[in-house]
């Protein structure tokens, strides 16, 4: 056993750090350091810069446009992307539907969709949750009825992230109403410009737009847009959600957040000295750093586990549960460190996802921008990807055998 990064991996990480800093345009990096969602344009431009170097989806297998790097190196690349303040890419495409398509899709689907994803040409959203199917996803009701070479889709999805920007949706739809809930679901790729698709924004408590309701009214979807077999969609969704849970550890993002908190705590003054020099604040910050170290160590363990390792689920659940909670608490700490500046609403002046009624820019320093928005939106981190209570039940049943 040796927990230290091998010299060649440390060299790799340093090289990637330099490369990313060289490639990332300064104005995109500056916007990335603010706490708002990246703009569609920034994401697309950055995806194309990476794709030109073959680095758009480094965690994918090489044959589909990814790399043959080790899991550790793939992780280190993500660490450096986040540390540089690079915009968060289209995760629905890169983390979720991409792997489903290259694992279960047919040749035509792979040839059509994967290059578009890699080049940022097509943006995706995930059509899973419905008003009455949240944590209990298998009770979803949106129906797809086969008419010749098309399905006709009717129903409603909700909490659909980025649907207002997306070109395509991957959706779970019910193709057999008689079967038991998990056995009658199929996995469809739906063009968001199809007649009968309508998107209604849901503004969230961060005064921004990232989630939506999506309605389907007799939407015709070609049968060739079904991934895998009819009524086997639940299995593909489970594959995808496993990816989502591992991704949800998000420790590189958390590390970036914590570095930003340190930065603002050096700028904010309380009692005549920077907040970071207040021993009470410093010890609270230390606790967060320590917990992040433990999570990072858990990530390294997951990266080194074989896929059939019995301890894998336990450790992955740790990442999801504690990682999501830590991100919330770090954003809360930032709000506290900012004092009054943390309580003022900042509009996302360069963004595209503002609420219909926009707050004026407050007379507060720029380092405060985005933190309130982050802290509010972070309440969702313990809900999406399977609420933490669901995670606890999964741990209790599948790991502890209770």
């Amino acid at each position: 056993m040796n927990f230290t990064l091998a010299p060649e991996d440390a060299t790799f990480q340093a090289e990637m750090r330099t490369l990313i800093r060289d490639l990332l345009p300064e104005d995109i990096a500056r916007r990335g350091r603010r706490g708002f969602h990246a703009t569609h344009d920034d994401i697309r431009d950055w995806m194309r810069i990476l794709n030109a170097r073959g680095l758009a989806a480094t965690h994918w297998p090489a044959e589909h446009g990814g790399t043959d790097w080790s899991p550790l190196r793939k992780h280190l690349f993500q660490v450096e992307l986040r540390a540089a303040g690079a915009p968060v890419p289209d995760q629905a495409a890169l983390e979720l539907v991409g792997p489903v398509i290259y694992t279960f899709g047919d040749a035509a689907q792979k040839a059509r969709y994967l290059p578009e994803i890699l080049n940022g040409d097509t943006f995706w959203c995930q059509g899973f949750s419905e008003p009455n199917a949240g944590s209990d996803l298998a009770s979803l009701k949106t129906s797809a009825v086969r008419h010749g070479d098309h399905y006709v889709v009717n129903g409603q999805k909700t909490w659909t992230s980025e649907a207002h920007k997306a070109d395509m949706m991957f959706a779970l739809v019910r193709t057999d109403a008689e079967a038991r809930p998990q056995a009658g679901i199929s996995f469809l790729l739906i063009d968001m410009k199809s007649p009968g698709v309508s998107v209604r924004p849901i503004y969230t408590i961060n005064e921004g737009l990232s989630v939506n309701e999506v309605f389907f009214d007799d939407v015709r979807v070609p049968v060739e847009n079904r991934v895998g077999e009819e009524n086997r969609g639940w299995g593909y969704a489970k594959f995808l959600l496993t990816n989502e849970r591992t991704m949800s550890a998000e420790t590189p993002y958390t590390a970036f957040d914590l570095a930003m908190v340190k930065d603002l705590a050096r700028r904010e003054i309380r009692g005549g000295r920077p907040v970071i020099e207040d021993p009470l604040f410093a010890t609270r910050l230390a606790r967060f750093e320590i917990e992040l170290m433990a999570l990072q160590a858990a990530v390294y363990r997951v990266l080194h586990m074989a896929e059939d390792d019995p301890a894998l689920n336990a450790t992955a659940s740790v990442l999801k549960l504690r990682g999501s909670e830590l991100r919330q608490r770090i954003a809360d700490l930032a709000i506290e460190a900012l004092g009054d500046h943390g309580l003022a609403v900042f509009p996302d002046v360069e963004g595209q996802d503002n609420m219909d009624v926009q707050a004026p820019v407050p007379p507060a320093p720029d380092h405060a921008a985005g933190w309130l928005s982050r802290a509010m939106f972070r309440r969702a981190t313990t809900i999406y990807g399977g609420a933490n209570e669901i995670q606890r039940t999964i741990v209790a049943k599948s790991v502890l055998g209770l």
Partner: protein, 376 residues
């Protein structure tokens, strides 16, 4: 980075676990704690025969070529069984101090004695006012015509009552020095008492104890770095014990919930309890991950970075151990607070681990002082 155990490491782990399962039952342990010395000399001889007393020492230090990983493997399994033999104090802490500071002759004599199981040594460094500040030594050593005169009072010295040799830290003109002193030396007064987890500790009064110049271990005035290194090994060893104890408490509680019936059903059917068990598992896994980082920190060539990494592990793991073992008591109900049932004893070990070698505030302070400077 390589996270799997080598075949030798796996065999070591298996060896410690099997012996503890066979010979270290809870009733046996209760008997040991009631004996005058508080542990078994016979078992100690067995530990030595099996090579455990040299598992974490390099061959140059008269061990079997291992290091911090091997040390942590043994300690984790000993934590699982709540072993009370003076492994942590003698093999982990005192031997590390000698390896760090001793000259060739001292190493050969003292370390081969430890590895062979013939000599018990304790680091008599702690003073109760130190509270984890290793530089705050008030014991003094003054130079006389034939050597050194030691005066002062050491407190809560783990393994002190049974030690043949004490490694006493003292202020000398050049700084902090370390001296080997026979526990039988004139002027030494040892008062044995019990720590919360049943292990034996000593208050050691030094009243003009005289030792020769050859008693000095390491440079005069320059022993602190070696002492800190030894204490850091002790902290990680103790945290490994915590991980073993947490894991044992977790699965014991799991089994209890599956058998204990109330309201006509076994307790494991209640979701409120399932979720608390899930949180216990999360804490345990996070602690296990942090232990790996802590073990790695022991090999960090930069002492300040090593200390920060060790402090981080101490905070994360000892607090997790408190949470998990306290929850294990709660989920057991009344039986959990009885002396005759094991689960409360895991908690007692966690309480010791949280406080020994400096408490949470001390280690948070130390980590913050290092970690926050890093990004300035």
């Amino acid at each position: 980075m390589e996270l799997s155990l080598t075949p030798e490491q796996a065999a070591l782990k298996d060896s410690v676990r099997r012996l503890c399962e066979r010979d270290y039952g809870f009733e046996h342990r209760r008997g040991l704690l009631r004996s005058p010395e508080g542990f078994s000399r016979d078992l100690w001889a067995t530990f030595a025969e099996l090579g455990w007393t040299g598992a974490g020492l390099s061959e140059a230090d008269f061990g079997y070529g291992g290091g911090p990983v091997e040390m942590a493997i043994v300690q984790e399994e000993m934590g699982r069984a709540l072993v009370v033999e003076p492994y942590l104090s003698c093999v982990v802490v005192a031997a590390t101090a000698i390896a760090a500071l001793g000259d060739a002759d001292q190493k050969e004599r003292l370390l081969s004695g430890v590895v062979g199981g013939e000599t018990l040594i304790a680091l008599a460094h702690n003073e109760v006012a130190m509270r984890g500040d290793d530089a705050a030594v008030t014991t003094t050593a003054t130079q006389g015509p034939y050597g050194w005169h030691l005066n002062g009072r050491k407190g809560f010295v783990l393994g002190g009552p049974s030690a043949d040799i004490l490694l006493v830290s003292a202020q000398t003109p050049g700084g902090i020095s370390l001296f080997q002193v026979s526990a039988e030396a004139a002027g030494i007064e040892i008062t044995a008492y019990h720590a919360v987890d049943g292990r034996r500790v000593a208050e050691i009064a030094l009243n003009d104890v005289q030792v020769g110049p050859e008693a000095l271990i390491g440079p005069e005035g320059g022993a602190l770095p070696g002492i800190e290194r030894a204490v850091d090994h002790g902290i990680i060893g103790l945290m490994a014990e915590c991980v073993g104890a947490m894991d044992a408490a977790l699965w014991l509680t799991r089994d209890y919930l599956k058998t204990r019936k109330q309201f006509g059903t076994t307790l494991n059917s209640f979701q409120a309890l399932q979720h608390r068990m899930a949180d216990m598992l999360v804490e345990t896994e996070l602690a296990r991950s942090m232990l790996m980082a802590g073990v790695a920190a022991l090999s960090d060539p930069d002492p300040a970075a090593r200390r920060a990494g060790v402090s981080a592990a101490k905070v994360q793991i000892s607090e997790a151990a408190i949470k998990v073992t306290a929850e294990a008591i709660q989920l057991h109900g009344g039986i959990g607070v009885t002396e005759e049932y094991v689960v409360g004893h895991f908690y007692k070990r966690a309480v010791l681990a949280r406080g020994l070698f400096g408490g949470i505030d001390r280690h948070l302070e130390r980590f913050a002082a290092h970690g926050l400077r890093d990004v300035a």
